[in-house]
Amino acid sequence: MSERKPLLEVDNVTLRFGGVVALDKVDFTLYEGEILGLIGPNGAGKTTCFNAMTGVYMPTDGAIRFRGQQISGKKRHKITKMGIARTFQNIRLFPEMTALENVQVGADAHNRGSVPSAMLRLPRFWQEERRGIKRAEELLEFVGIKGRTHELARNLPYGDQRRLEIARALATDPTLLCLDEPAAGFNPAEKVALLELIRKIRDSGVTVLLIEHDMRLVMGVTDRIVVLEFGKKIAEGTPAEVRDNPKVVAAYLGVPDAA
């Protein structure tokens, strides 16, 4: 375990909005090849933390490093190109695009051909386009929604939209995939399938950061867990360690009725 290479370091990050402290000296490290769970009750600051990692917010204090490189302050699309991809808690697909096109947008992140090649249909355009479509189709198959390739994203069932978001994020060829409550609204069967998918993603060499409410899912799939509450890290460790931490039990599962 000591040989693990750090991929993403969240180094004492504080984030304030006006007077509200959303993150308070949060400090943890994500190692290559692992699945890290980030949990905490609603409003604990998980998504805020996520947003800081993907460049949506600038930390007020502290630093976030990806492979040793500072990412705070970098343009968001550059961060994506560095290898961090994400999904959203409240699905944010491009609703008027087909499933295939949604994934293509992700795949385009590494395409260089721009306006002239597209307008004049230069060989490079066809080359990139073909490659993009192939990659997108592969990914749709990988996440299990190949049958929906040409459906508009807005018309996909809820579960498939979640899967599509994952495919789109994977299309950017990330080293780190951040999933924000991917199982929200899933029934148990769907959750099991998702669990499989997350493992498959990790096995393909992508490090995964997972925000999730469903403890069983988190416990079942993650290697380590970081627990946030009110913007502070209150625990970190293996699922077993975290499960037995009384602070976590109190914060996350709610207080049993005193009466």
Binding site: T54, G55, V56, K75, R76, H77, T80, K81, A85, R86, F88, R92, L93, F94, P95, E96, M97, T98, L100, E101, Q104, V105, G106, D108, A109, H110, N111, G113, S114, V115, A118, M119, L120, R121, F125, E128, E129, G132, I133, G147, R148, T149, H150, E151, L152, R154, N155, L156, P157, Y158, G159, R168, A169, T172, A189, E190
Partner: protein
Amino acid sequence: MTDVQIKNGAPEPRGFTGKLNAMSKPGRWAAITALVALFYLMPLGWFADPPGFYNPLVTFSSDFGTVLFDAAIFVLLAIGLNVVVGFAGLLDLGYFGFFAVGAYAMALLTSPASKLITDYHWLDSPWPWLAALPVAIVITALTGVLLGWPTLRLRGDYLAIVTLGFAEMIRVIAVQSEWVLGGDRGISAIPHPPGEIGGEPIFGFVDPKPYYWLVLTVIIVVVFGVRNLARSRVGRAWVSIREDEDAAELMGVPTFKFKLWAFAIGATIGGLSGALWASKVNFMNSTTFSLENSILVLAAVILGGAGSIPGAILGGFLVAYVPEWLRGLGGFLGLDINTTEYRYLIFGLVLIVMMIFRPQGIWPNRRREAEIKDRQKEVAVGE
């Protein structure tokens, strides 16, 4: 797993890439070719004036050929603005400003009466038409970039007011009587495009048809270019920006760069139409560049259906054609009302009614149409 009812049957190939495969259908091409041929034939005797009939489509009080030319210029403008508003979702209220830049650039470079030659001596002699045209277009494209660079970070309505301000600034500069642009005195003797048939110049004063055909041809080329863009990485980037700018950025789309491209392409097309127009009219002055025209082009795009190229074409045509057609309608119907005076009143009413009953536009993009129809169901109770 499926919690949605989706129409059964094989998924129809849709969307940009889906259409790539379906494109070679001969039927569609035949239809498009026939339509294009009809457009080319429209100003000709038989279509404009079929023997023995009175063609009610022909404008009654203004020359049909020239109206077709003006409409074609508007179509070109609408196609350009559609890239900005329809594809990239950037509300531009000052698009006509680019038309002005293109027209003035062309006029200043080619007219012997240009102040650049007569007063400032920056040029020794007027440029040839073919050399000036690309330069005028490049100048407009640069203007687009120059305007877009600082302003495209603004969102929504703020961008709208800034672009509106830009168009007003261009107008105010154009009005300045003592400056290069000549103000109300304008610039005269703008040369026509070159070309002769049997010693007779193709492009003259009286016959508007060659100009119409020229612009029509340009439209076809531009439509192909824009369509190619729409069905590419660039088009996907635009749509993604329009639908969810933050998500697009986080998926690696350099949103600023593509917004700037949209602006520059829109500007280029605007400049192109301005340059072509300038070489037809021979004389231009500041009167033409009022804000109303920017608004009319925007109305054209939305009337036709934002985001749809055929919609932009139809919208551009209607916005230029309907008021001209209304001019002589009273006389045609044998009524003693002067429709000339009422034409903008009627046009305004048409805009309201259209937006109430067809907010997605006349010929919308299929996706947009579905979206807007769905929106209609998503209202709160009693709204």
